[in-house]
């Protein structure tokens, strides 16, 4: 009987060893995990330029009133990104910190990779965007908001997704897709241009 017990233990040990050895196969295809935040994020800040200037840290951003809504983008070649649950700060609230925007003003949003996109005041009020359903058929636009998103699906926006903060066009209705050119990644500066 002791011999039998020993063999049983060896059997179990072997099975455990094999399971441990193969456990790496259950992860993602690349074997790499995407960090929830880039190490360089610690140095990130957001410069706001209007009639005054203000610099916000990530913590400052999180203390501002937050919007949580649905976001879904499509590239110029038809590649869809999302749907996401987006959390961030309405661009109107951000610009209000540096003097606000007038009816004819423009909002220039910059990223350190050299990308720039320009919104008008109407767009910041959710007007003038083309909206699609998930099949990319055009549909009437529900109320939209333009936010600086810092959380995507309940987690900090990753570097690959444009973190620590990117523009998102969001709505309370799920499945509404918007054109992705305005979804500026890696935003680090927002300027109000008076017209």
């Amino acid at each position: 009987m002791p011999g039998q017990k020993m063999q049983g233990l060896i059997l179990i040990a072997c099975c455990c060893l094999v399971l441990v050895l193969i456990s790496g196969c259950t992860g993602n295809a690349t074997g790499k995990s995407i960090p929830s935040a880039d190490p360089a994020f610690g140095n990130w800040d957001l410069t706001l330029n209007g009639t005054t200037q203000k610099v916000l840290t990530r913590s400052d951003l999180e203390t501002l009133p937050a919007v949580t809504a649905n976001g879904y983008a499509v590239s110029t070649t038809g590649i869809r990104f999302g749907p996401y649950t987006c959390k961030g700060v309405d661009l109107r609230d951000l610009t209000a910190l540096v003097g606000g925007i007038g009816e004819k003003d423009q909002i220039w949003v910059y990223a350190p990779d050299g990308y720039l996109w320009v919104f008008d005041a109407g767009q910041l009020n959710g007007k003038g965007f083309v909206t699609f359903n998930e099949s990319l058929r055009e549909v009437p636009s529900p109320p939209l908001k333009v936010i600086l998103m810092y959380e995507q699906d309940g987690k900090p926006v990753t570097y690959n997704d444009g973190g620590p903060a990117r523009v998102a066009i969001v709505s309370d209705s799920p499945g509404i897709v918007t054109e992705g050119s305005a979804w500026v990644k890696w935003v680090d500066r927002i300027e109000v241009h008076k017209k």
Binding site: I10, C14, L19, C25, G78, G128, S181
Partner: protein
């Protein structure tokens, strides 16, 4: 002894089964080599066909296409530092302008050559549902597109080369047909604010506002050609300025424009250069805001950082050969197919 033997046989059997089940996890031997190809949006159809054909010829290769606007195609390598084996764009000037520069500390350029592999031309795409579809011809297209109630689509010139090329074609048409303000009637007067046009000497410049926004229903602007085509098929617009290869690939009807204005004929390059477009803002810090009328020439290169340069070269060679065959939906054959070096 009998109990021991049975146990060991069982252990060995379980191990063998698990090894068989997990054989694909070792990452060696049978995995396909990924070939990452960034291409212009107007190359989706031909490169999609090339992907299947090339993979059939090279069963060990997985061609991974990623389409973008042409400038974004290059930025994947130069600004975003993403891995890529092949770069193919709809404007040959972009490669020397954006990639003939140092990539890193070793002094290597992102690339120092490119291969022109195809041409294209602007056409007016439409369907049987388009208003006046039975009336439009190569001779009266500009008159039909000017009629009240007709909806004309173009892609956003801030985002898509086909968009600013549409503006250039419309302006060139003004001289071609000796019709003053044809550009305004066709497109320019239907934006808020109206598009500014300035002529100095022989050169006319169209100046875009920061936000390209139609002022009425005559003009419809979408970010990319794919959305225009979808609108065209659904009857949301009647006509669209498009590349010939795209209209052909989507099996749309289309009107051929005179070679003197369609940006498809190198012999008219001097005429094309008489119109340029200044974009409303510098969307990318790596490239300025001026877009000049030039013949449309597609170009391909292999970036210095390509992980699989030998296979990439085979793919480039395949594209070059197939493009010369004049396949439907592909860029048209070009006379000059030699590699251009820095």
């Amino acid at each position: 002894m009998k109990v021991i033997s049975v146990s060991w046989v069982l252990v060995l059997a379980i191990i063998a089964v698990l090894f068989v089940l997990t054989a694909g996890c070792t990452g060696t031997g049978k995995e396909k080599v990924p070939l990452r190809v960034y291409c212009a949006g107007s190359l989706i159809i031909p490169f999609g066909e090339a992907e299947k054909e090339f993979e059939a010829l090279h069963p060990g290769v997985d061609v991974q296409l990623e389409p973008h606007g042409s400038i974004q195609v290059i930025r994947q390598i130069t600004d975003l530092h993403r891995p890529g084996d092949v770069v193919a764009v709809a404007d040959e000037s972009l490669i020397p302008d954006l990639m003939y520069r140092r990539a890193g500390v070793d002094g290597t350029n992102y690339t120092d050559w490119y291969l022109p592999f195809g041409g294209n031309e602007m056409v007016i795409a439409f369907t049987n549902k388009s208003r006046y579809a039975s009336e439009i011809t190569e001779d009266n297209w500009y008159e039909v597109l000017s009629r009240p109630g007709v909806k004309v689509g173009l892609s956003n010139p801030m985002l898509d080369a086909a968009g600013y090329r549409a503006l250039i074609v419309a302006k060139l048409a003004e001289n071609e047909y000796h019709t003053s303000n044809l550009f305004g009637v066709l497109l320019g007067d239907h934006f808020d604010p109206r598009l500014t046009v300035r002529t100095v000497g022989q050169v006319t410049t169209i100046i875009l506002p920061e936000i390209v926004k139609p002022s009425d229903d005559h003009v419809v602007v979408r970010d990319g050609s794919i959305f225009l085509l979808s609108l065209l098929e659904a009857g949301g617009i009647d006509y669209a300025f498009e590349y010939r290869s795209v209209a052909e690939g989507k099996k749309l009807r289309w009107i051929r424009l005179p070679p003197s204005i369609n940006l498809g004929s190198p012999e008219y390059a001097k005429n094309y250069r008489t119109v340029n477009v200044i974009l409303g803002f510098q969307r990318f810090s790596s490239i300025g805001t001026e877009r000049v009328g030039v013949p449309i020439v597609y170009a391909v290169t292999i970036p210095y950082s390509a992980a699989h340069p030998e296979i990439a070269k085979e793919f480039v060679d395949y594209i070059a050969v197939e493009s010369q065959k004049g396949r439907p939906g592909w860029p048209s054959p070009v006379n000059r197919t030699e590699i251009i070096r820095e």
